[in-house]
């Protein structure tokens, strides 16, 4: 534990669905201001662990503390308004335009979001303020996910959770939006937890990488240490993929 007051703490957090165990007791603390990537293969339990934070999934064992409070003791709706949430499905409300989608979080607590604030949020995710009146089905996939990020940021969350946020995007958009999110993380002083199955994305964006396998945390270290060969066999198998790709590309470049 580097920070004496971590923003997020998992204490033997576990979740089972009947006989199958999704998360098998995770201990971990996440300091305020850090950008953490949660990496693992499909079915490793990373999404389930993330959803325990905003109470979309209730733990069947252990606890999750947010600012020192057990999340299951908080009213779910109020907790979720303090936590921005971006996920692969995006889930823009199809009957609301872009501005209404972005303003939904504040609206739930009876706050108004001014058009200026909407424009600022759109600019933040590099969208034209003129898109505010468009409907979601008039946007491209990348634009939609940008709106999803803007919506998550609209209520000035203490914590940003992202569940495979760029999974459905083309590589160019994916790269640009990843950089943008990292930049916003710095600029807005966010604490970010991002679930991804793409180790390259984790290594490039995060300053701490957690690797999950079969419901357990098998590695917890920095991207640099992972690249240096630390973190154990599961983590190294995941690191090997982008590294091998990079080496093959470099070799092709040399022979060209």
């Amino acid at each position: 534990m580097t920070n004496p007051q971590p923003l997020l703490v998992f204490e033997r957090a576990a979740r089972a669905y009947g006989a199958s165990v999704a998360v098998a007791g995770v201990d971990c603390a996440i300091a305020a201001g850090s950008f953490v990537a949660l990496v693992g293969a499909s079915g490793s339990g990373k999404s389930t662990l993330l959803k325990m934070v905003n109470a979309l999934v209730e733990p069947t064992g252990g606890r999750v503390l947010f600012s020192g409070e057990d999340v299951t003791r908080l009213a779910p709706a109020r907790l979720r308004r303090r936590v921005g949430y971006v996920f692969q499905g995006i889930g823009l409300f199809p009957h609301m335009n872009v501005a209404q989608n972005i303003a939904i979080g504040p609206r739930l607590t009876g706050e108004k979001t001014t058009p200026e604030r909407i424009a600022d949020l759109l600019r933040l995710v590099e969208l034209e303020p003129g898109l505010a009146s468009r409907m979601p089905d008039e946007l491209s996939g990348g634009q939609r996910q940008r709106v999803g990020v803007a919506r998550a940021l609209a209520s000035a969350p203490e914590l940003l959770l992202m569940d495979e946020p760029f999974g459905a995007l083309d590589p160019v958009t994916r790269d640009a939006l990843g950089r943008k999110v990292r930049e916003l993380h710095e600029r807005l002083g966010l604490t970010t937890v991002m679930v991804t199955h793409d180790m390259a994305e984790a290594l490039l964006l995060a300053d701490r990488v957690l690797v999950m396998d079969q419901g357990k945390l098998v590695a917890d270290t920095t991207p640099r240490a992972l690249l240096a060969g630390e973190g154990g066999p599961v983590a190294q198998r995941l690191v090997a993929v982008p590294r091998g790709q990079a080496e093959r590309l470099a070799a092709m470049e040399r022979s060209a």
Partner: protein, 514 residues
Amino acid sequence: MAPVWDILPGLGDKLAAHVVLSASAIGLAMLIALPLAVWASRSQAVARLSLSLASLVQTIPALALLALFFPLLLSLRAVFGEDLPTLGFLPALMALTLYALLPILRNTVTAQANLDPGVLEAADGVGMTKWQKLTLVEAPLSAPFIMAGIRTASVWTIGAATLATTIGQPSLGDPIFAGLQTQNWALVVAGCLASAGLALVADWLLWWVERGIRQRRRWQWAGALLAVVAGVSAALWAQTDSAEGRRIVIAAKQFSEQYILARLIGSRLEAAGYKVEYRDGLGSAVVHGAVAASSIDISVDYTGTIWTNYLGRKDNPGREAMYETIREWEWRENGVRVLGRLGFENAYAFAMREDRARELGVSSLIDLAAVAPSLTVGGDPEFFERPEWIAVRDAYGLNFAKRRNFAPTFMYNALASGEADVISAYTSDGRIAADRLVVLEDPEGALPSYDAMIMLSPRIAGDEGVVAALTPLLGAIGVEAMRAANLAVDREDAHKLTPEQAAAWLARQAGLAK
């Protein structure tokens, strides 16, 4: 016969009643189905149970469903007291509401089940409470499908509401049933046109609402909805407007004689300054209870019917004793005043073709018994099971060669064609006069009498104005006149009369009008 176009403008009252009834039933069905569907979307058991119950209701014919509410409400009087209406608006509303449930429920449940799970996760993710999720996300996204269900329910309900006539609720079914009974096809067509037109207009307006919601055009769905609300309000206003001061409600069962007599009674009351209202096409079984409950004020009933069906008697003490017993019983048990007898009977009797009767030398049932072993007797489908037949058979020792059942209409044809030598007829039936049939005498008095009586509900039993207006009718309607009037309504040629015209003719025959 009046052309359809002349009838339509006169259906305003019925249209207003039809609109109010249908709109109330759909509104009530929405109030029940929408929360139920929300509950069902959160519980598989509720979904399965409510949908199967609603489907079960759909399998009951609408006519039967309407009729079933009469005994149900009657038994509920034990709980809610004697003021609970058993006929008219309440049972019609309840039955039609049940009928409208299924399409609304099914569409709402389906819409909820087909919502994008990503959108629902986002609703939770942004911190919506369950209520906010319902109102901000689930309801608006399901709305077009729910509207489609409401549209279906509306068309069904407007169609089925025509059947409300049979339980004493005015609707566009009134002209349809009246027309069917008196074979006035223009009236039937007018009623069908009006109710089909209403269904089309409702469907069209609700389609605009549905489309407006789907395309998120607020002015469009709000405008269409406003038109619906305006239509219903206008109907409501027209109804309350016409309801100032209660009118005298006159019943007519489902045959021509009843329509004619109701008009005859009604026209005399109108001449005396009363406002009257007709409840036509009522099921025979509901009329008696309705008069006792004052849901209906005046009916014409028959001594034999009340004797067997309500007093449960099988004996035959003779015409006068039967009448006096009924009069006394109605007053004591139900507070119903039997004002008196009109003068004719609509009884079961045996009828023969004039030439055949002469040929066989038959003029009474005693003569008939002698030749019966070589004859064929025809009866309506229930006749040979009825106590009247058994009484006659035993009293005269009737023993026919052959017994055949015919639908009432074909009975007369069978007689004409010689397939039957003698039939069970109704004494006031117009066809007796038309076919020049001989009604055989019953010297033993074996057939119970079916004297037509005017019955007054407890509400108006003491109204001297009504009594004075109707007393001249007592003893004034002979069976020949009644037969002729019935025939005039039943016939399908140029001499066909409406029940109103036949009533006026009957009044002249009775010397009650010029």
